[in-house]
Symmetry: C2
Subunit: 297 residues, 2 copies
């Protein structure tokens, strides 16, 4: 029981207290709302104030502030301050992170960095570790690995090619739909096909999944679990990243997918051990010839 509570505590800590305050607003009493306003107006001041100062600022009594804290599932005022401090630490994630029309370069740069980091955090929490482990297992045992994606996900597949190519394993990558199909028709049961699609609704990718499976290949989907593509896959690595629909471009999901590729590549090298690490180093060294030496410029 103590463990369970502890877990919940951690979970709550990851949730933003400031958002919680705004959401909880209706359930507050008149005086509690006064406290909420003062805190939301200047959270930075709040964490450096004592309960007495804050009570004065909100023009309420000290116990009211205390009751306010408890209503938000904190142990009391000091605990509330701790939660508040954590919320403020995460690059002010309570403010609107969506880019707006009148935003200048400073604003949109900040917002995009922050929303990207936020979606990585979400992705991290949603990703299923056992599945990652199984996929790494499959990849290390595969005789041939294919990476296919279309549109924005094509560049993710491209990146996967770049990474896995260094492992000295046969890697297949095509942008062309027909080539992808033909390649899958030649699959065997020792092959792994990784299909990348944020929505999981791209028709030709779903078809490719079917072709690959009918040839006994193992199909891994980096896509949404309940999508048509997801249903056709042997294993699905899903990333619950809320997509920024404002911009009509997949941004956050693609970064999360790339990070997942990094993770798979890392898992791959770790599984293969030191011998393979040396191989990586050798591949890197061969690139030297095409580069300017660091010391000669």
């Amino acid at each position: 029981m103590a463990t369970k509570n502890n877990y919940n505590e951690v979970f709550d800590a990851s949730m933003n207290i400031l958002e919680k305050i705004t959401q909880h607003n209706a359930a507050f009493s008149k005086s509690e709302r006064k406290v909420a306003e003062v805190i939301l107006a200047n959270p930075q001041t709040a964490i450096h104030s004592s309960i007495a100062t804050l009570a004065k600022m909100a023009d309420v009594s000290e116990p009211t502030v205390n009751r306010f804290c408890r209503r938000l599932d904190t142990k009391g005022y000091p605990d509330f301050k701790l939660h508040l401090a954590q919320s403020l630490a995460n690059g002010t994630p309570y403010v609107n992170r969506h880019v707006e029309e009148h935003d200048g370069p400073e604003e949109y740069t900040k917002k995009i960095f922050e929303s990207t980091m936020a979606s990585l955090e979400v992705a991290r929490q949603s990703v299923d570790i056992p599945t990652i482990n199984r996929v790494v297992d499959l990849l290390t045992q595969a005789q041939k690995i294919s990476f296919f994606g279309l549109g924005a996900s094509a560049s993710v597949a491209h990146d996967a090619l770049n990474k896995f190519f260094r492992f000295n394993v046969p890697i297949i990558y095509f942008e062309d739909i027909l080539m992808q199909r033909m390649s899958c028709m030649n699959c065997t049961e020792d092959d792994v096909v990784v299909l990348i699609s944020h929505t999981g609704r791209t028709k030709s990718l779903v078809e490719i999944a079917q072709i690959a499976r009918s040839n006994d290949a193992t199909v891994v989907g980096i896509t949404s679990k309940d999508s048509p593509l997801g249903k056709e896959c042997n294993l699905v690595l899903s990333l619950d990243v809320p997509e920024d629909t404002d911009m009509y471009m997949p941004m956050a999901s693609r970064i999360a997918q790339l990070t997942l590729i990094d993770i798979l590549a890392t898992g791959f090298t770790l599984r293969r051990g030191n011998k393979f690490r040396e191989n990586l180093k050798r591949v890197k060294d061969t690139l030297r010839g095409s580069r300017f030496d660091k010391k000669n410029d």
Copy 2:
């Protein structure tokens, strides 16, 4: 002088307290080190403990804990707890983020996500906003935009193609070195060439920069400022992301580059205004035909 102190305070605040503890280790006294150990061993417990409990855990007296806090430039124990809470909120960035040989899937997944987020934070702080603004300016006025990269940066260029293609502006993208060269020979002064390279030492890319400039095109480098490539560019967008050399693969830098592409694309649409937004929506709508409808599955 007051300003300078203020700046340092801001700097210190943004700096992780846990890292500060480890770095400061030499300056601690014997008992203070005991306190440091207890906190580093279990920071989550520390923020929920009173000064008395913590003192007992470290087997020292309460004032020692208090002195320990002050030595780290905090006002006292409660203030220290606030800083500690903030540090823990940022995805525990104090722990060793480098993947190690014996790491299991849970560990390396966590570490890669965290190090990716951390490098985005570093990138965000290092990026030069006025340069971004100028690059967006150039891109909106360009008659033709080219994106070139090699190796790992090729997929970044690929991604840029995907994004900017939707803007209905002539976009050039080649993976082939010779095609890149030929393309640059046909440049005019209204063209913008964006070259992507983490190291900035890839010979053929430097040559391409020279060719493009000799044809009066504007060359933008997403690369390191002092690199051979950087020196050949009209404008350089540098991202000071410390690369993970352990894995012999560029990971963090590429994510930062992609985020930068997102930012440029966003800046581009914002500059072009609403008329262009509609165009984006149109491009997105045409994709519908190749997709399974969300309601029909």
